[in-house]
């Protein structure tokens, strides 16, 4: 005689096993950690006075500059390692992103484009175009090139792969700018933290665009100018960010007002990254859903 157990609650459905790292989740975690760390430094410095406002020692600044990299390793890279199907070559992509930034982007900016000499006093649209056709296109092309000539198309198996690799390249790319800022300027820790967060978030925000365009090139029929359109769009976003940042970090100049508002620059970068992440997530989800309806599959191409 046996008794069947009486189930008071409905039987749990077995959770669908997702074999890949959840790119958006880890990226949001990185963004969140970065924001919390930076805002903590900001509050400790400007509001609580726990940190001296003129603290500009290189070591803590370097630590802050490497924070995005650390967050990426903790959340994205470790998450990747734990996934059933880890993406290969992420670290290499990151390193290559850093190398092209240091070897090509920075020298071009400092020696050829010299945007500080002619763009800062330009009007808004002039600034959009100027940054778009110099720093923007350079950065986006370099990050694209890192993906295009290494992991693409071999490791691009699904749409989120493009995002994951592009974000890795962006972290490396931004890391170089962050470290240079920490080491080669006299900026305070507070300013460094705000700048690191702004730079990283802006790079993270624009990078998925080219990742997405690269992935989409692998799927179905795309126009012959698909990648140029992607590059143009990413560059435009980058130019738009620089132009808006020029407005955002300037506040009213008056008696008692200093004319500077770096926190708003951070807010702008966060807004951009959030909008792009959410939009990209929506677009990718929609595309995957449509593909699932057509092919019965959504995870893999």
């Amino acid at each position: 005689m046996s008794f069947e157990p009486i189930l008071l609650a409905p039987e749990e459905e077995p959770e669908e096993l997702y074999p890949y790292r959840r790119v958006w989740r880890t990226s949001w975690l990185e963004v969140g950690v970065l924001l919390i760390a930076v805002l903590t430094i900001y509050v400790l410095t400007d509001f609580l006075g726990a940190l001296p406002p003129d603290l500009s020692d290189r070591l803590p600044k370097l630590g802050v500059a490497l924070l995005p990299l650390a967050a990426w390793f903790v959340f994205s890279y470790r998450g990747e390692r734990r996934a059933l199907q880890p993406r290969a070559g992420l670290v290499g992509t990151l390193i290559l992103g850093a190398l092209v930034a240091n070897g090509i982007a920075v020298p071009l900016e400092e020696r050829l484009f010299t945007p500080d000499r002619w763009l800062l006093s330009a009007g808004f649209f002039g600034r959009v175009l100027g940054y778009m056709f110099t720093l923007g296109v350079t950065a986006e092309f370099l990050k694209y090139a890192v993906l295009r000539y290494t992991v693409w198309p071999r490791h691009f198996n699904q749409r989120l792969d493009g995002v994951a690799y592009a974000l890795a390249a962006a972290i490396g790319f931004a890391g170089v700018y962050n470290v240079r800022f920490a080491l080669y300027t006299d900026a305070t820790l507070n300013a460094t933290a705000l700048r690191v967060a702004s730079t990283t978030l802006s790079q993270l925000a624009v990078a998925p665009v080219m990742g997405f365009f690269l992935v989409e090139l692998l799927i179905g029929r795309k126009p012959i100018a698909w990648l140029p359109i992607g590059l143009f769009l990413a560059s435009f976003l980058s130019g738009l960010y620089y132009a808006f940042r020029g407005i955002a970090i300037i506040s009213g100049l008056n008696v008692g007002a200093t004319g500077s508002s770096p926190v708003r620059g951070l807010a702008l970068a966060f807004g951009l990254v959030a909008i792009v992440f959410i939009s990209m997530a929506f677009i990718i989800e929609s595309a995957d859903t449509r593909m699932e309806a057509l092919t019965g599959r959504r995870e893999a191409l």
């Binding site: 100027g130 092309f141 295009r148 560059s235």
Partner: protein
């Protein structure tokens, strides 16, 4: 894994669209960069026309520079408001001279005047040259230290290098001047050369 539309072994073989996308991407970037550099050069070399009919001077000046044509000491003086720490200066002045005066006499007068006004004023060189319109001119390079006049501000003196090109016109000497902080002198000399190319004395 077997469901991959594109497998590892498919990597070597790109489709026509993919291949041309890659080519066009590079081409697009090159075009965009070219456009960007054009924008840059246009912005850096943008000029505005200065004209003083009374003094008989017309010239192209860098756009966005602070232009002073109010003083009796010069026809105009333009300074780059952004330059650090010394404001790059272009200036044209007209001095009345006697009929027997030579450009070297004019430079002598300038030297004497400046020696009392500028600290550590030194003439570096004097050379003769011919301007675009064929007129003979003399070029003098000099240096001095520029210091803050306001005693309530603390500033380290800046070593300034300057160039004067003197050309005679009837009973007047036209002095075209460029001054820049010593280390940036060569880099920004093109402002002066552009001015020399554009200046018209009538």
């Amino acid at each position: 894994m077997s469901d991959y539309l594109i497998r590892d072994d498919a990597a070597p073989g790109l489709t026509f669209t993919q291949r041309w996308n890659s080519y066009l991407a590079v081409a697009t970037v090159l075009l965009m960069l070219a456009f960007g550099l054009t924008l840059r050069n246009n912005a850096l070399n943008a000029t505005q026309t200065f004209e003083d009919l009374e003094a008989g001077v017309r010239a192209q000046l860098p756009r966005g520079w602070l232009l002073d044509a109010e003083s009796a000491d010069y026809v105009f003086r333009a300074e780059n408001p952004d330059a650090l720490p010394f404001k790059t200066l272009l200036q044209v002045s007209v001095l009345p001279i006697g009929s027997d005066a030579t450009p070297r006499n004019v430079l002598d007068i300038l030297d004497i005047q400046r020696a009392t006004r500028f600290s550590a004023y030194r003439v570096i060189s004097r050379t003769e040259e011919t301007l675009r319109d064929g007129s003979d001119a003399i070029r003098m390079t000099y240096a001095y230290t520029q210091e803050e006049r306001n005693p309530f501000l603390e500033s380290v003196p800046v070593v300034v290098q300057g160039v004067d090109v003197v050309v005679l016109r009837r009973s007047q000497a036209v002095v075209i001047t460029y001054r820049e902080e010593r280390s940036a002198f060569e880099n920004n000399l093109y402002y002066f050369e552009n001015l020399l190319q554009s200046v018209e004395i009538f």
